[in-house]
């Protein structure tokens, strides 16, 4: 089978993705300005090292919960309400997943980061505490964003599958950087 693709087709794909990508772009610039404003505490190798780890896992956690909630909403096993046992179980599972993932990565990072040659803080443990603590904070934020966006998009007749993932990923980046800056106040700079 030979499919002839005209420039028209390319444009139609581009046109559909551009609005979502523009929103992601603006949220990304906002996240970038936060990093820039906090550059005096953030521009340190081991802090920069932890940013992709914390944000990457946060985005994935939110996407996993969002995908599970939207499937459950579509299947009817979950009602579009903020209470109920199914929702509680899902949130508790997401929280547990966040705690064990960030906990184990925080431990592993103490071994991996020095081996990779990342310039470490004087007190090595601070890297682990930073990842674990900001990760825990971010887990709560990301679970809330993906729960609210899944339930309310479904309530308003939108397909959560199209809404939750891009929304969680881009707002998760901003929230992640805020959590890291907050956690740095606790860990010490």
């Amino acid at each position: 089978m030979r499919i002839i693709v005209e420039p028209r087709v390319i444009w139609s794909v581009a046109r559909q993705s551009i609005p979502v990508l523009l929103v992601a772009l603006l949220m990304g610039i906002l996240a970038g300005q936060m990093l820039n404003l906090a550059s005096s505490i953030v521009l340190v190798p081991w802090v920069l090292f932890s940013i992709p780890v914390v944000n990457g896992i946060g985005g994935n956690l939110g996407t996993i919960l969002g995908a599970r909630l939207s499937s459950a909403l579509h299947l009817g096993s979950l009602e579009a309400r903020l209470d109920g046992k199914t929702l509680e179980d899902e949130l508790l599972t997401g929280l547990t997943l966040g705690i064990i993932t960030y906990g184990s990565l925080a431990l592993i990072s103490l071994g991996v980061a020095p081996v990779l040659g990342v310039e470490m803080p004087v007190n090595l443990v601070r890297l682990g505490v930073l990842i674990a603590f900001s990760g825990l904070l971010l887990t709560f934020v990301v679970l809330a964003i993906s729960m609210l966006s899944a339930i309310y998009s479904f309530k308003f007749g939108l397909d959560p599958d199209n809404v939750v993932a891009p929304l969680t990923a881009s707002s998760g980046d901003i929230a992640g950087i805020m959590c890291i800056i907050l956690a740095l106040q606790v860990v010490g700079i």
Partner: protein, 186 residues
């Protein structure tokens, strides 16, 4: 209340593996410290560059995955009009939106009145990274689809998560090289 063990069992290994991949991205980000210090405002660009590539890459993976399921693309027919136009679209999007990210990063620095590098450097660095990283990632997506289809795996389960992590690492790696080559920091 009940915690679902099966969800933990299925998701934890995947999350842990992406976490290890993110450590490589973190290593690259940490390595840029001196450049970010000496080129004020450059850090503004980084989250959106990473985010854009992740979005464009996973959308391409999903679209090529669907095309595989529909029989338009397969391991025997990997380089045809359909896959070519998907790849072309994603490279065009990556270039166009990266150039915009450079301009928006510059404007946001102007608006906030913070110290920043010139518009020319912002746009050179963002556009060059967009073209190079976009091209590398597009062909990488196509190879993942090729191998998944050849070995009878469902590309939908493999390509998008693998791409999301690879996008972070490759974008930061290309960005690093482009920053050095641009001469923004002597």
């Amino acid at each position: 209340m009940r915690i679902s063990r099966s969800v933990l069992r299925q998701s934890y290994p995947f999350l842990f593996a992406t976490g290890l991949g993110q450590m490589v991205a973190g290593l690259l980000f940490g390595g840029m410290e001196n450049y970010l210090r000496e080129a004020p405002g450059l850090i503004v660009l980084i989250p959106s560059m990473i985010g854009l590539r992740g979005n464009i890459g996973s959308a391409l993976a999903c679209r090529l995955g669907t095309a595989t399921h529909l029989g338009f693309v397969s391991s025997e027919q990997i380089w045809n009009d359909r896959s070519r136009s998907e790849i072309w679209t994603s490279i065009v999007l990556s270039t166009f939106l990266s150039a915009m990210a450079g301009a928006v990063a510059y404007l946001s620095c102007l608006a906030l009145g913070v110290e920043h590098i010139s518009l020319g450097f912002f746009m050179l660095i963002s556009t060059a990274t967009g073209v190079i990283a976009g091209t590398v990632l597009s062909f990488m997506t196509l190879s993942i689809i090729f191998y998944a289809d050849k070995h009878g795996a469902d590309p939908d389960n493999v390509a998008a998560p693998a791409l999301a992590t690879a996008a972070d690492i490759i974008t930061l790696g290309v960005l690093f090289l482009v920053i050095i080559a641009s001469g923004v920091v002597s």
